[in-house]
């Protein structure tokens, strides 16, 4: 295991005019580590995620990423071409709404294969074999490979989106409420699947969620955000079992016990 982080974030802020998106966020993320970012709507967690994934440029602050050659690159100084290349090779982004992350009018197989073709794979048979393999890893039957995601249930679409993102073997995956909008039974299956994939592949992930149970199941570390600021961070079980900040205590005490 390397002693260098994968991502270094320092004093990241994003303002929308005078409104605060996120304010002065700093953290390091190591390979294989899952960081949960929790907070209510409007707490800035999605703004933070969008800044980190360079879908949004921050107002100030820096984020540097350790490329596969071991060199750190300042994300916001990279050219758009480099960032987009990173985005479709070494990174993944799982949207809350699968329709935002999938091509709804092309088949499941092509959805999975697109990234491979984007990085220059030109062998149909191999692309298809890889797609079949990934569909099975996300528990989608092989005979659905030529169906469009429009014909899939919400849970299947989300699993397809995950396969589409992981096919190039990314080292960092961003997830925005990956289980939002799914039935609880479907959620459990997806969480379990994600947990397994993250462990097996040694992925680092930043998961934005308002669901503390999701955070507990998926992440080792957690940041609690409120009004754009990080009010508490630490080991996930420490933050949940011994919440220190007033807001975290409120969050934890608001969980419904089943």
């Amino acid at each position: 295991m390397t002693d260098e982080p994968l991502l270094r974030v320092s004093a990241l802020s994003k303002f929308y005019g005078s409104r605060v998106g996120c304010d002065n966020v700093s953290f390091d993320l190591w390979p294989g580590e899952v960081l949960a970012v929790v907070g209510e709507s409007g707490s800035g967690k999605t703004t933070l995620l969008n800044c980190l994934s360079t879908r949004l440029l921050p107002s100030s602050g820096t984020a540097s990423y350790r490329m596969r050659d071991g060199q750190f690159r300042e994300l916001y100084r990279m050219s758009e071409a480099e960032r987009r290349f990173l985005m479709r090779t070494d990174w993944g982004f799982v949207h809350q709404n699968p329709a935002d992350g999938l091509r709804m009018t092309v088949s499941a197989g092509a959805n999975v294969g697109e990234r491979l073709m984007a990085v220059g794979d030109r062998h149909y048979g191999k692309i298809r074999a890889t797609a079949v393999d990934w569909l099975s890893r996300v528990e989608i039957e092989e005979d659905r490979i030529d169906d469009e995601p429009r014909a899939f249930s919400g849970g299947m679409r989300q699993r397809l989106q995950i396969a589409r993102n992981l096919v190039t073997g990314p080292r960092l995956v961003f997830m925005d409420e990956p289980t939002g909008g799914l039935d609880v039974s479907v959620q459990a299956r997806l969480l379990d699947l994600l947990r397994g994939l993250v462990t097996d592949l040694g992925l680092a992930a930043i998961v934005v969620t308002h669901d503390l149970a999701v955070a507990r199941l998926l992440s080792q570390r957690m940041m609690v955000m409120k009004d754009g600021r990080v009010v508490e961070s630490g080991l996930t079980d420490r933050v949940l079992d011994d919440p220190r900040a007033p807001y975290t205590q409120l969050l934890v005490s608001s969980i419904l016990q089943v």
Binding site: D192, L235, R238, D242, A245
Partner: protein
């Protein structure tokens, strides 16, 4: 052999922000050390802070004051001020923990729940499963349950899975939070055997045992936690 764990002047309180910020002191002035090859037992009535101490040692509770020095990979680390990443490394390599209750994960079989800590330490999955099978058999968990997720198991069955998960690794320090609470006599004896084996292997154990017989059987030393009651130090 160096002392594996030294606790000095540790204090812990809870601040209840939702109740006008009232401060509930739990323990203060906690100082003790544990030794390799021994089972140290935290004694005292319920609410004295035994569980809180264990949780601080595992990094599960934050520490207000003091130091928890652990011998981790031939270096000394203060767990009270360690980064989350360091705490995770300590948990992976140095300190094992058997909690009171098993936190189940949907769809993961009992066998894999038990094998997981070994796999995390880099053990081959099949080897880890082999060890898990041996432990579960020793703890008399019916074989037909091994492939099932433990969520629907009885309390005693879950606890045996939990114990197996805690004992499968070779962590030099093992924390035990009432591991025998919901076990029958036969399985209590198995746990006593397991603890004896750990001691023989040079593991430093620290536990809470409400069951008098078990405590008598395993304890080399008893630390009375009431000595760390916060009132004794502060106002």
């Amino acid at each position: 052999m160096p002392t594996p764990l030294v606790v000095s002047d540790v204090a812990k309180s809870f601040t209840m922000h939702l109740r006008d910020g009232i401060k509930l002191p739990v323990v203060a002035g906690v100082s003790f050390s544990i030794r390799a090859g021994e089972c140290t037992v935290l004694g005292g009535p319920s609410g004295a802070g035994k569980s809180s101490i264990l949780k601080m040692l595992y990094g599960n509770y934050a520490v207000d004051e003091g130091q928890i020095i652990v011998n981790h990979e031939d270096g000394l680390i203060d767990l009270a001020n360690a980064s989350p990443r360091t705490v995770l490394a300590v948990r992976r390599q140095t300190i094992g923990y058997v909690s009171q209750f098993l936190r189940t994960v949907p769809r993961v079989s009992a066998l894999d729940v038990v094998a997981e800590p070994l796999v995390e330490r880099g053990e081959n999955r099949e080897t880890a499963r082999g060890k898990a099978r041996a432990l579960l058999a020793q703890l008399n968990l019916p074989e037909k349950l091994w492939a099932l997720p433990p969520a629907t198991f009885s309390g005693g069955e879950q606890q045996r899975v939990n114990i197996a998960r805690g004992f499968i690794t070779e962590h030099p320090i093992l924390l035990l939070d009432e591991p025998t609470a919901s076990l029958d006599a036969t399985n209590r004896d198995v746990v006593i055997e397991l603890i004896a084996a750990k001691k023989a292997a040079g593991v430093a154990l620290l536990g809470i045992f409400h069951d008098h017989d078990v405590r008598e059987a395993v304890a080399d030393r008893i630390i009375d936690v009431t000595a760390f009651a916060p009132g004794k130090l502060a106002a």
